[in-house]
């Protein structure tokens, strides 16, 4: 094994066998990579659904007219349409079919993250209750749309899988934490492979809800900027097929470390010193066997709210100092909430494979109170290991380390 990966324990690592991402910056990996290369944002000010204010959102186009596969029609909702669109990209389906052939349908798990699943369908159904009885429209399918498990159920049936499955719903850390669930399931011998990822889509609950907390910016978000004033919400879906890492080869990407922690501080505000975030980053580094100086790039949670960016900066600089290149990609595609962890995992994988650290978008003047090395333009450099942060409501923190195998 080569020097660049000698510190990584392959026993605990997961190999990213295949992956794909769809968001406002593009459908599939090629479009996503191009947008990162061009530092292009998919956030736009627009009218959406019945929203009574113009919002800056990262919308995936075409979902209103997308048809689910006939045999999966009961799952029809924006969230599962987005899931299907993402699954159809980058040869991901074929990769899954290949592992099913290799291991059998009971040995492939499905662990997905979402925060609001298909709740938009219940939001619409509540606008069409029977005036006399209060009943919801007869065609409303709570189980297959609104319930949090819907997306994992959809993906499991999409591939005819028969293995373990669940949805993790820990707000904005959801689809980072699924890597841990898959890693433990594989290590326990229950599975040979798993589909991990996340799907979250625009809905009124999050748009009005974050607005009520005064956390939605009236402009496209600008993480780490002196004038940052809130998030931009986006649609997003990302799927990764993971296996044990023993057979990883040159240029493969491994998830080499995961760290999880709780803030134990407040339901919707991070620990002011980034203490929980620090614990998660340290645990991820420890599992990967790496030192902070080994990390080539940090994909920040970087939501663009005042408190979140401030706490994360304190946490990052306490561990990494002020030199490690960092950025948030929320300025590109918005905050995709429960899908953010998986999308940003894939952004780290693209950055490692293509040897560049993506510069942030939307940010003009870095807040002088923040001290990490926030990139405003792409940095071409050899990339070996990247760390990604995801933090959610309820003080749920998760950090992931990704490493590139170089032969």
């Amino acid at each position: 094994m080569c020097c660049l990966t000698k510190f990584i324990s392959r026993v605990q690592s997961l190999r990213l066998t295949s992956f794909t991402a769809t968001s406002a910056i593009g459908t599939g990996l090629a479009a996503t990579l191009a947008a990162l290369r061009e530092q292009r944002s998919g956030i736009a000010r627009k009218k959406w659904e019945t929203l009574d204010f113009d919002a800056c959102i990262g919308e995936v186009p075409g979902l209103d007219t997308l048809a689910l596969r006939d045999d999966l029609a009961i799952f029809d909702c924006r969230n599962n349409r987005l899931a299907q669109l993402a699954l159809e990209q980058d040869g991901f389906e074929q990769s899954v079919r290949d592992v099913i052939t290799r291991y059998g349908s009971k040995r492939v798990g499905v662990f997905l993250g979402t925060s609001t699943s298909g709740i938009l369908s219940s939001e619409i159904a509540y606008r069409h209750r029977d005036a006399a009885s209060g009943k919801l429209p007869a065609n409303h399918d709570y189980r297959h749309t609104h319930n949090s498990y819907s997306s994992a159920d959809f993906v499991r049936r999409y591939f005819g899988l028969q293995g373990p499955a669940f949805v993790v719903s820990t707000a904005c850390s959801s689809s980072a934490k699924v890597f841990g669930s898959a890693q433990r399931m594989l290590a326990s011998g229950l599975l040979d492979a798993a589909i991990v990822g996340g799907v979250d889509s625009l809905c009124l609950t999050t748009l009005y809800g974050f607005n009520s907390l005064q956390l939605v910016s009236s402009n496209p978000c600008k993480p780490f900027d002196i004038n940052r004033d809130g998030i931009s919400i986006g649609d997003g879906a990302a799927f990764l097929l993971v296996e044990k890492a023993e057979n990883a080869v040159h240029d493969d990407i491994l998830m080499s470390g995961i760290g999880e922690s709780s803030d134990a501080h407040h339901m919707s505000t991070p620990h002011p010193e980034g203490l929980g975030a620090r614990l998660a980053m340290q645990a991820a580094l420890k599992m990967s066997g790496l030192q902070p100086s080994d990390i080539s790039y940090i994909n920040l949670h970087g939501t663009s709210t005042h408190n979140n960016d401030d706490a994360e900066d304190k946490g990052v600089t306490a561990i990494f100092g002020t030199e490690t290149p960092c950025s948030s990609t929320k300025g590109h595609l918005g905050h995709t909430l429960g899908a953010a962890g998986a999308i940003e995992a894939i952004i780290c994988a693209l950055a490692l494979k293509n040897n560049f650290a993506p510069g942030g978008v939307g940010t003009e003047t870095i807040d002088p109170q923040l001290h990490c090395n926030y990139l405003l333009s792409n940095l071409e450099q050899p990339m070996r290991h990247a760390l990604s942060n995801s933090f959610g409501f309820g003080g749920s923190n998760c950090s992931l380390v990704f490493s590139k195998i170089t032969a």
Binding site: K106, S115, I119, S122, E123, Y126, R127, R129, G134, K135, L136, H140, Y142, R143, N147, S148, Y149, A152, D153, R156, Q162, G163, P164, A165, F166, V167, V168, S169, T170, A171, S181, Q183, R184, M185, A187, S188, G189, L190, L204, T205, Y208, G209, F210, S212, L213, E260, S261, S262, D263, A264, M267, S268, L275, G276, L279, G392, F393, G394, G395, S396
Partner: protein, 266 residues
């Protein structure tokens, strides 16, 4: 696959006519009758007053089962990783937000919004117990108990540390009740330990099987088992209540179920 082995150090159950483990144990062992009525829950403890005012049924229930299980294990909750598993977030809160969004004035309350996340019970628990350990929050529709037990067991075995599993469900008001008719709130909690200690009450050996799920002999307990995802655990809880050795099969995801061999005298 070889079976996953884990010890049970602490147990709790709150549900209709099942007010804590001592009473539930008598009902499940057949020594007392089940009187179906909304669960009697202890007051929420350890939360600052501002937080305590904001909590609904789901958080009261998860706190009640969590503290009872931790106490019965003699464990320190500040050092326990947790797995929260439920089929839905706070149902009353969800209904209220949906009604607000369907009204002309869409002023969602900020407190209702942050309480709407599926991991709100985990967030309140970590604040109440000052616990910074890993915590996850799962949903697998009706398979939520087995999904949580597998996650908590693999978490515990991989970290070599005890883990607290909390599986609980609350009830929707109409109109969603018609689509998801969970009749009563019910929750179970187990402190799982990869190591045998003086606190161990039973050893569980878990494996995935394709045989049918065990049923409850009592009609009302079987009604609870079939209609509340967390109550899918009842055949396991009955063995633990009786202190009997045996094997039960718990519902999971078609075509897999979870076989649990229970050894009570450990």
């Amino acid at each position: 696959m070889s079976a996953l082995q884990i010890y049970v150090d602490g147990i709790s159950l709150f549900g209709p006519g099942l007010s804590g483990w001592e009473q539930s144990r008598e009902v499940l062992a057949g020594d007392a009758a089940l009187l179906l009525a909304p669960p009697q829950l202890p007051p929420v403890e350890c939360l600052p007053p501002a937080e305590r005012r904001r909590v609904g049924m789901l958080i009261k229930l998860s706190m009640a089962i969590g503290f009872e299980a931790v106490r019965s294990a003699g464990a320190d909750p500040a050092h326990l990783a947790t797995v929260f598993s439920s089929t839905e977030a706070d149902c009353d809160n969800c209904h209220n937000i949906l009604e607000t969004l369907a009204s002309p004035d869409r002023a969602v309350s900020p407190t209702r919004f942050h309480n709407s996340v599926h991991n709100a019970p985990s967030g309140y628990w970590s604040i109440a117990t000052a616990c910074m350990e890993p915590s996850t929050s799962l949903c697998a529709y009706d398979a939520t108990f087995s999904a949580g037990l597998l996650e908590a067991t693999t978490q515990s075995l991989n970290s070599s540390k005890p883990t607290l599993l909390l599986a609980y469900d609350a009830t929707f008001p109409e109109p969603l009740f018609e689509l998801r008719p969970i009749p009563y709130p019910l929750g179970v909690a187990l402190v799982l330990n990869p190591v045998k200690t003086a606190s161990a009450r039973a050893q569980l050996s878990l494996s995935l099987v394709t045989s049918d799920a065990s049923k409850m002999p009592d009609a009302e307990l079987e009604m609870l088992r079939l209609n509340i995802p967390a109550a899918r655990s009842l055949p396991l809880m009955q063995l633990l209540a009786k202190g009997s050795n045996g094997t039960v099969v718990i519902d999971y995801l078609e075509p897999l179920n979870l076989s649990i061999e229970v050894q009570c005298a450990v």
